[in-house]
Structure formats: structure tokens, C-alpha cells
Symmetry: C2
Subunit: 334 residues, 2 copies
């Protein structure tokens, strides 16, 4: 472990995992946290509940397709959704820089109102801190969510078997490239919008079909980080096909110019599902019925057990190793 | 409303209340939030649960008697305790500045481990973000807590009546003056320690006696802010006696030198209770049995209704109006 925290420790990749396992799990060892799922799932007076937390430090705070408020709500709702929970309540903690424009705070607040209203959840408790100018970059938001799980679904990397299919609910890279483009002032003919959206309805519909073993929303570290987590923790060999992974042509173009790979770029409205082979097509067709899953695709499968690794079958027929990201190519993206 | 956010908006005083009422309540209007209690209390499958959130931006992060980790845990536990809840689970969201010393993060983590262990609660979910150097002042921590309420206590400013007694569990100003002294490098013969502590056991014991109408931990804005909230929201005239309010002699001394009033200074291990007159002495004696309440005292009473205001009967027999704090005299204290 390095002696100083680096940007990579917040990347969602290898350094983040090292920090979580080497420091946080060592100290806060308990089965709920150790599961390292997007939300902790626990028993509360005889029924299952879920809790998740996320801080948002995205820069800029307003970007095409969203803003830090919408992002916070959707991100937290998605973390509840992927453990099978129906989101209920949110807390909202804001750290604001002295001198922050009131109208921006108003705009963010209205965005949170609109987003929570659409989802049907409520902000029930909050906190506001203000730091001196220069000690916060505008505004940072923490949202913590709780939800209930009213189905019998059992999710976990330990439920995954060889042969299971990998469903991705749509194109990758949109959020990261949208925020980056706005931040760097890139000018394109058409604006790339973040995919920032709440997936709770899409996921609840898919759950009804059955056969889902594991879900995760590929945010920081992108698709590559999620696939590598599954490979590492489950000791699996995973193969995904480049041709099956939807990528917007403009995202592809920018990535190619900047030397980025969309598979490592953050998404904020996508879910990856590991599904029993026999029902994968059924789950896919339900996902595709939701507007947010219109471009969903079965992108690959859990190929083998024992030799862990993630491989991409390229469009040209070759095989490429997809490593766990280590440093953060695009910091402050969420 | 000003057009920019100022330090005072995070003070816990008038500007904070204006922001909450004028912006957040307007947008997130729902009965759970509108109660504006320390924790939201809600029904979850037929039983009562509570949720609260707090972000901590204290500077310095290590101070006599505590650190940002212990402070976060105790602060959140106290917010659950004052609505009558038993704390169960915590989430932990960290925003860390690039270059932050790993050993400091380790020390904070161990402090959180120790504090949660003593209280008997668990950190079950977390999130870590890293910002570039200069965009966070070391580390900011958000803790969100959930708890259950397994008693029939009904708390609220609307439950308070004229004649009710005001119990304060101990001396005021210790936390704020401890942090300030450390920050400014004051050197005294003996170090003033923060009162940072979890009050859940003290409060649960007191609840068993009955007669408690309302509780709050006087943090930002100090005792003055809590008393003014009660006076304003309940339309009460409140009288407290200076002689009955415990203040450490050293805290008194520093306040006097710096022109501060301990009644406006933040506490992190104190609770104010409004208690039915007939049982106030019984509640007091239970509070005093707890080490954290050894210096508890009945400091005043709800004097009248209709004309709202908070008055301090001074040691010299005079009466002084205690206003709601507007700006923040000691920012970054929690």
C-alpha cells in the first residue's frame, strides 16, 4: 500500500479494492459489509432491507443528460436495484463551498425533486455543511438509500455458474465521455448525453422472469471493473464479444482520439446481469421492452472455472485480455 | 435569500433554517422531512425505524478527545438516539484529498472501528471518492445511520407544554472550544477535551422513566440554537438559568478572552431534554447515573406560550435575550 492516497484509490479499480479489502474490511469486518455488494442486505424484524451510500464529486456539476443531483439519486437507486431492492427513502448530505451560487443549488435541488418524484421515492433526512472557499469544489453530495426486498431472489457472485450468460442493458461509455467532453470543452456537432437514469423498474421487471444470479451497474472502472470483480471473486474465466457490446459511434470516436477504451469508462444508467443460460433470452426480451434497455444484448458468458481472467473476443476474431483498471483515467466522473 | 451560499448557511442557525425551509422543504415536501427532527422516523413493515445523515468537515481532523471518525459515528448515533431509536447500522462515505496520508486514514478507520464496537453498531456499506489536491481539505466523512424504535415514546415540539422542565446532560462548549484551541494552536496548562460521545445508552435509560417530550443534541449553534428552535416552532417563552448551566472554567475563560458565548458553541456529547414537570427529577437522577450525564442539571423551563423567545436569567439576576445564531462563529467544528 502506498503511503499516500492517490486518485486511483477512488477509481473503482484495483487500488480501490486494495483499500477496501486492506483497510476497511480489516477493521469493519462483518458479513454484511464483507459481501461487498452495491448495497448491504440485512434482516430487519423478519424482512429483508437494503442500504447503500455514495458520495458524488462529479465535475462539472451540470452536464448533458444530467447533473450532480440527478446523478446522486439515480446512482443510489441503482445500487439498491441491483441487489433486488425496491428503493424507498433517501438521505441527502451536501457539502457546499462558500460562495456557491444559490441558483445552482436551487437547480440541483429541483433536479433531485424531479428525479425522486419520477422514481417515487422520498428524501426524508438531510444535512448541509459549508466549507471556506477553495476547500470544496463547488458542491459534493452524499445520498444514502434504503429499500426493501420483497422477493426471494438470492444474488451473489457465489451463485454464478459456468455457462451463465452476461446481459448488458445498453451502450457503454456515454456518461464518462459526456462529462469529459463537457469538462474539457470539446465541441461536437451533436452532444453526447450521459445515460444517467434509474433502473429500478427495468430490474424489477427482469427479476420476475427468474434466473438472475448477479447484477451490478458498471459505474467507476466501467464494464471492465465489474467483469474483473466477478472473475476474481468467483474464480471464473469470462469471455465477452466486442461486437455484442453496444457503443455509440461518437463515444467510440472520442475514445479512439483520446486513447481511451469504452470498456473502462463509467456508465450511470446501465446494468450488467449474470443470468442462467436457459432463461437469458427471456430476461433479455423483458429488459429490451424497457426504453432504458432497448439496446440490451447478451454480450458473453461465464466460460470456465478455475483460471480467472476476462477476455474480449475482438471484432477481428482475436482475443484480448481485459485487466482490472488500476489508476483512474477519468477522475471526478461521478 | 442571498445569491451566494455563505458559511452561515452551514451554521445550524438562522441561515441554515432559512435554507432548509426556503429551498429543501419547498422541494422535498413530505411529512417525514418536514418534521425537521434529527432523524426521520418512518413505518417499515409495521414497526418504527429512524434514519439520519450527517457530513463531517471538522478541522483539524484530530483533536483532544476525538477525531473526525469518532465524531461522525457519535454524531449520527446521537441523532438516532434523540428520536428514541436504538442505532443499528451505519453507512460510511469518505471524500479524500489526493495525497492524504494513508496512516491518517488508518487512524481514522481504527477510531471508527473502536467507536462502533463500543456502541455495538456496524458499518455495513461504504463509498470512497478521491478528489485532486486542493479540492477537499484532507478528508470529509458522511455517516448515515438507521435504527429501530421499540418503545411507544412520542417525541416532538408539539408535545411540549408550559411548565415542562429542561434537562441538560452536562457542560456546554467543550467540543467547540477544544477544536478551536487545537486549530488555533492555543497552549493551556491543561488540554480541553471534546465531549464527543455516544448518548444512546443514557437516553434509552431515561426514556424508560417516561415523561420525555422532546430531545435534541445541541451541536452546531449550541444550546442557543436548540432552545430557539423550540421557542420558534412551539411558540414558547423559555427561561433558562445561567447558574444551572454547567460550563467548564477553562471553556468559560477562553470564551471570555475571545468574546464568545458558550451557549452558542457546539457540543458533541450532550443532550437537551424537555420533560414533564412531575417526573423531571426522576429523569434527572437516571441521567446523572450515567457517567456521560454526571453533571446533568435542570436548567430551566417552558415558561409561557404565545410570546416566543428565549431568556437567560443571569447570575446577577438580570434577564438576557438569547437569539437564534445567524452567522457561524466557529465554522468547521463538526
Amino acid at each position: 500500500m502506498k503511503d499516500k492516497i492517490s486518485i486511483g484509490h477512488g477509481s473503482g479499480g484495483k487500488l480501490t479494492r486494495d483499500l477496501i479489502k486492506g483497510l476497511f474490511l480489516k477493521n469493519f469486518d462483518n458479513p454484511l459489509l464483507s459481501a461487498l455488494s452495491d448495497s448491504a442486505v440485512f434482516d430487519l424484524n423478519g424482512f429483508k432491507a437494503a442500504m447503500t451510500t455514495d458520495s458524488y464529486v462529479v465535475k462539472p456539476i451540470f452536464f448533458p443528460g444530467g447533473d450532480i443531483g440527478k446523478l446522486a439519486v439515480c446512482g443510489t437507486v441503482n445500487d439498491l436495484a441491483v441487489v433486488g431492492a425496491k428503493p424507498l427513502y433517501l438521505s441527502l448530505g451536501m457539502i457546499i463551498e462558500e460562495g456557491f451560487p444559490y441558483k445552482d443549488l436551487e437547480r440541483i435541488t429541483q433536479s433531485i425533486k424531479e428525479t425522486t418524484g419520477k422514481i417515487g421515492i422520498k428524501v426524508i433526512t438531510g444535512d448541509t455543511k459549508v466549507t471556506e472557499k477553495g476547500k470544496t469544489d463547488g458542491i459534493y453530495i452524499n445520498t444514502t438509500g434504503i429499500g426493501i426486498i420483497d422477493n426471494d431472489i438470492e444474488l451473489g457472485i457465489d451463485k454464478i455458474s459456468v455457462g451463465d450468460k452476461i446481459i448488458l442493458s445498453g451502450s457503454i461509455g456515454d456518461h464518462g465521455i459526456s462529462v469529459l467532453s463537457k469538462r474539457e470543452g470539446f465541441n461536437f456537432e451533436s452532444t453526447i448525453e450521459s445515460d444517467c437514469a434509474a433502473l429500478n423498474n427495468l430490474i424489477q421487471d427482469a427479476i420476475k422472469i427468474g434466473g438472475i444470479k448477479f447484477m451490478r451497474d458498471p459505474t467507476r472502472g466501467g464494464l471492465a471493473a465489474v467483469l474483473n470483480e466477478i472473475a476474481e471473486d468467483g474464480n471464473f474465466e469470462i469471455i465477452v464479444e466486442e461486437e455484442k457490446i453496444p457503443v455509440d459511434e461518437r463515444v467510440k470516436g472520442i475514445c479512439s482520439i483520446l486513447g481511451l477504451d469504452p470498456i473502462y469508462i463509467a456508465n450511470e444508467g446501465k446494468v450488467l446481469m449474470i443470468v442462467e443460460s436457459g432463461v437469458a433470452e427471456d430476461v433479455l426480451s423483458v429488459v429490451k421492452k424497457d426504453l432504458l434497455g432497448a439496446n440490451a444484448s447478451i454480450i458473453g458468458e461465464i466460460k470456465a472455472s478455475g483460471e480467472k481472467g476476462v477476455y474480449l473476443k475482438t471484432s477481428y476474431g482475436g482475443m484480448r485480455i481485459i485487466d482490472m483498471p488500476i489508476e483512474d483515467h477519468l477522475p471526478r466522473i461521478c
